[in-house]
């Protein structure tokens, strides 16, 4: 994500740097990864699609070290996780190692909303950023199309008598669009004449929140995708029997609609480091990780594959380990935990940071004690990594105005934890600024401990037990409170044969707890599970803990209002 600490001026500078970057031909980028030219389809300027046959073709090549980048609990300041992935990739290449990075495709709604895009920033960007942030090769749109094709077939199925017995008031499948549009959150559709029906209350989620997106991100092949799409549960009969997309007759067409989208996109960083860009499932209700197929390709394209897991380690990395790696079979060698001086100070609870408002003065003053007071969050995230048998590395994403004593405080905390730590100025300096981090990561992956990767729970553990384990051992809760609805949901899924699925807890990303106001590492709380939902296509069960917004709105001054072309036809105002 664009670093929220950067000012308007530095954001505009990022766009300029991006537009000045010298792109290498995609065939050269692919050749450097050992991918046959015939498996690379150029897709407009600076982007290509990689055929899935590449997975098989590269399988005999050596396996790269697999490094996941995660972070401390996000603050409104932005920790710069994507820039760190990009910077680290560039740093590894600068220090004589070959690295590929894997990132998510940014959702267009937020890019045109308030947040900015997902291309990184400064001298650590994936380019061309206009293409990365808008449409790219159309994968998100293909997900939208497949999602809404199923929705249309569901309503047509109801309209024509519902031969499956699907009950109109028990349809759980909504519609999807990649736009920030609060007015679409809840709608009544099918108004008008009888032939314009059926009339039902429903709504739209942003496409990143679509189960189709989550499914595409976790699939391993086109045939696997076909099967997963068929398993999607769209609703229930009056008797509570699940009705699938297979039964609606939509899974085949959905697969055909996704046959280009399943191929990972190849782009490059400003320093020509290969970047696989693929899928962007929501981080709250889905995995928040880029695709399995991108990593299955990237793992054989060099010495390092650096991949990103959304939000903090309790969210993205836990899912990376227990859902994504469970599917891919890939074993991570190290995990980078990104922290910033200001974010740790914010985790002290002593400064109130509000998105879009000027920073409180106290946060800007030199005060290493505040850093230490916020360190519990960092310690908890490191513990989560080690709980999975993976070697952590702390990356201090350094900013020009950081005080040396505060950076030193983070180094001391890492040293106390026995964890390698490096400061990185990749935003300002590109790969050159990430050399210390690259060396730390290169050391970390050589540790024998990296071979001890373990999943948090086995497939066969009951759903309730899996949720309890995550709550206690990852979030630090005292236990879980299941509502009556949630308990019934779990019993239903367990008896319907979904008990072996892993868990993707839908909770706030703004706290280790389920209360976004609690900073640091909260103790003495219990995880409330309101209801439990099924993502049978993606292959996980997701307990709902708190209010999950699946369709963002636009702010009072949407980014879109500033985006335009100039008199030469260049894009301006896009970050």
């Amino acid at each position: 994500m664009t670093n929220a600490l950067s000012t308007e001026a530095s954001r505009a500078h990022s766009l300029t740097l991006s537009q000045q970057a010298t792109l290498a031909p995609m065939r050269d980028i692919a050749a450097g990864m050992g991918i046959d030219e015939e498996l690379v389809e150029p897709y407009g300027r600076g982007a290509a699609k990689i055929d899935l046959a590449t997975v098989e073709q590269l399988s005999a090549r050596p396996r790269a070290k697999y490094v996941v980048v995660t972070a401390i609990t996000p603050t409104p300041l932005g920790e710069g996780k994507t820039t760190t992935v990009i910077g680290l990739g560039q740093g590894l290449n600068r220090t004589g190692r070959s690295a590929t990075i894997a990132i998510r495709q940014p959702s267009m709604g937020p890019t045109l909303g308030i947040k900015g895009g997902g291309a990184g920033g400064g001298r650590s960007q994936v380019v061309p950023m206009e293409r990365l942030n808008l449409h790219l090769t159309g994968d998100i749109h293909a997900v939208t199309a497949a999602h809404n094709q199923l929705a249309a077939q569901i309503d047509n199925h109801l309209f024509r008598g519902s031969r499956s017995g699907l009950a109109p008031d028990r349809v759980t499948w909504r519609r999807a669009l990649d736009v920030n549009d609060r007015a679409l959150r809840t709608i009544v559709a099918g108004l008008g004449a009888r032939t314009d029906g059926p009339t039902r209350q429903s709504g739209f989620d942003i496409t990143a929140a679509s189960e189709v997106m989550a499914t595409l991100a976790l699939t391993t092949s086109l045939q696997d995708l076909r099967e997963r799409l068929g398993r999607i549960v769209v609703g229930y009969t009056r008797d509570g029997e699940p009705v699938t997309a297979e039964r609606i007759g939509a899974a085949g067409a959905m697969t055909v609609l996704l046959r280009e989208a399943i191929k990972p996109n190849l782009m490059q960083t400003m320093e020509n480091t290969p970047a696989l860009v693929h899928c962007g499932p929501f981080g709250n209700i889905a995995t928040g990780n880029s695709s399995v197929v991108a990593d299955l390709i990237g793992i054989h394209t060099g010495e390092f594959l650096v991949t990103e897991a959304g939000f903090a380690a309790d969210m993205g990395a836990e899912r990376f380990f227990n859902i994504k790696c469970r599917v891919s079979g890939l074993i991570p060698d190290a995990a980078v935990v990104v922290a910033t001086v200001r974010a740790l100070k914010a985790h002290s609870g002593r400064h109130r940071v509000i998105a879009g408002r000027p920073l409180p003065q106290g946060l800007l003053e030199e005060n290493p004690d505040d850093v230490r007071a916020g360190a519990d969050n960092l310690r908890a995230q490191l513990a989560i990594i080690r709980h999975h048998g993976v070697t952590p590395v702390v990356a201090i994403n350094a900013f020009p105005n950081d005080h040396a004593s505060e950076v030193a405080a983070i180094r001391e905390i890492a040293a106390e934890e026995g964890v390698r730590c490096a400061a990185s100025t990749h935003f300002a300096d590109g790969g050159r600024g990430a050399e210390e981090l690259a060396e730390a990561v290169a050391e970390a992956v050589t540790e024998p401990a990296t071979s001890s990767f373990r999943l948090l729970y086995p497939d066969e553990a009951p759903l309730r037990e899996k949720i309890d384990l995550i709550a206690r051992e990852i979030y630090g809760a005292d236990g879980v409170d299941f509502s009556a609805t949630a308990a019934a949901d779990i019993d239903g899924f367990q008896s319907a044969g979904y008990g072996r699925l892993p868990i993707c807890v839908a909770k706030t990303h703004l706290s280790l707890s389920s209360d976004p106001a609690l900073k640091g590492a909260p103790r003495g709380w219990r995880l409330p599970v309101r209801e439990v939902r099924l993502s049978a296509g993606a292959g996980f069960v997701y307990p709902i803990c708190g209010t999950m917004q699946t369709m963002p709105g636009l702010g009072s001054a949407p980014a879109a209002e500033s985006i335009d072309i100039d008199s030469d036809g260049n894009t301006v105002g896009l970050f």
Copy 2:
């Protein structure tokens, strides 16, 4: 469109032929058109985008003969207009002339609905048909995104106090999706909490019916597109003042969202004839023609540019002449009017043809009198062409079971009208089957009469007069009946400065009249105009004559239910 006369077996055969076609490299296709390699961006297998700088780059090259393909009034039998465009292009190339074709991008909703795609059929197809029919390079999705970005900003504008004065109940801008989904025709959005609002009744149109699509199809450059998008009227204030997309602050972002989509797509036919595929505006409420920019490029790429106008000459060709050519400044040299034996027999009114039902026996029996009885429709369409000073050519799209006496009857009718006529078997035989047609067209464009192209009306004619002219001189009506609403609409547009715009009459395509049941060339009727709408971005005013469905539904057995992948991952069931 896929020829509706073809059986399931021949449709499956079309898919097989398409998948067996040998594609030439896109750079070779482009080189043959004289386009610099640097202006060609490959976009996946068998498709490329052409940079708009090509218009300028080619401007010194000779101008091709400009041939538009139109038809008699459509019947449920399908006349094979797209296959004729493709076949004629191939036929011209086979007979030693260089030709480029220009067609619309098919709308995905109907492709997955009932109609099938728009790739042509048999041995006259644009390939790869899966790419043409699904997503292609994402242009339709980009239109969807731009359309819905404006919609989201409109509701956000209302939510935040409507500083423009836009009245919530006078918003005319709806939302758009490329799917057949009747349940989205009329919705109430913005239900739920106050922050999920505003609550308004609205709905979705299929993206082909979006004003953004109509605008993209008529624009001449990126800067022109920016201005047109800004002019889009999204609704009115309480005082009836129009509120534009510019005022909402969305036009810049919409332009950036469309900056790839404005570039025409280059594909090829099965015989490697270059095919420009670009835009697909609805034929009823918009122009039903492919883009101006595609033709501005195609006109300098060889000896012939064959372009298609949707529906019959009273619809697509009239708009081609009076809207598209008015914008592009290009002058057509000939117009091919496609007819079939069966369709003319259907126009006799003696046979009742219902889509999806077996053909009536009488239609299949040899009866040249029926052909002559239906000839008035053909004569009327030829008259429309000549009214614009363009030389018509009758193309008989011949089928294996046509009786010779019936084909001869069409030739006699054409001879009576003094019009060249050729039978073409391009569906079965490809370009070889279109050689007679190619020769007839090549002769027609050499006529001195081809230089006498004239628009039906000047810009400065009042809107009411323009509508009256189209009704009388094109449709053969006795006059126009404006409702009170329509009269007020016209006065409003005239006084708001939209009086110089051309007219795009929204009426049924199934009759020369506004009554779809009237076949042949109806006389003694008046055109009822219920209301008049404005497409300020595209730049036309459209009177509504009858019920226009702008969001199709799915049938009882949608095509999507048969579309799938086979065990080798190949697409099956897509036509």
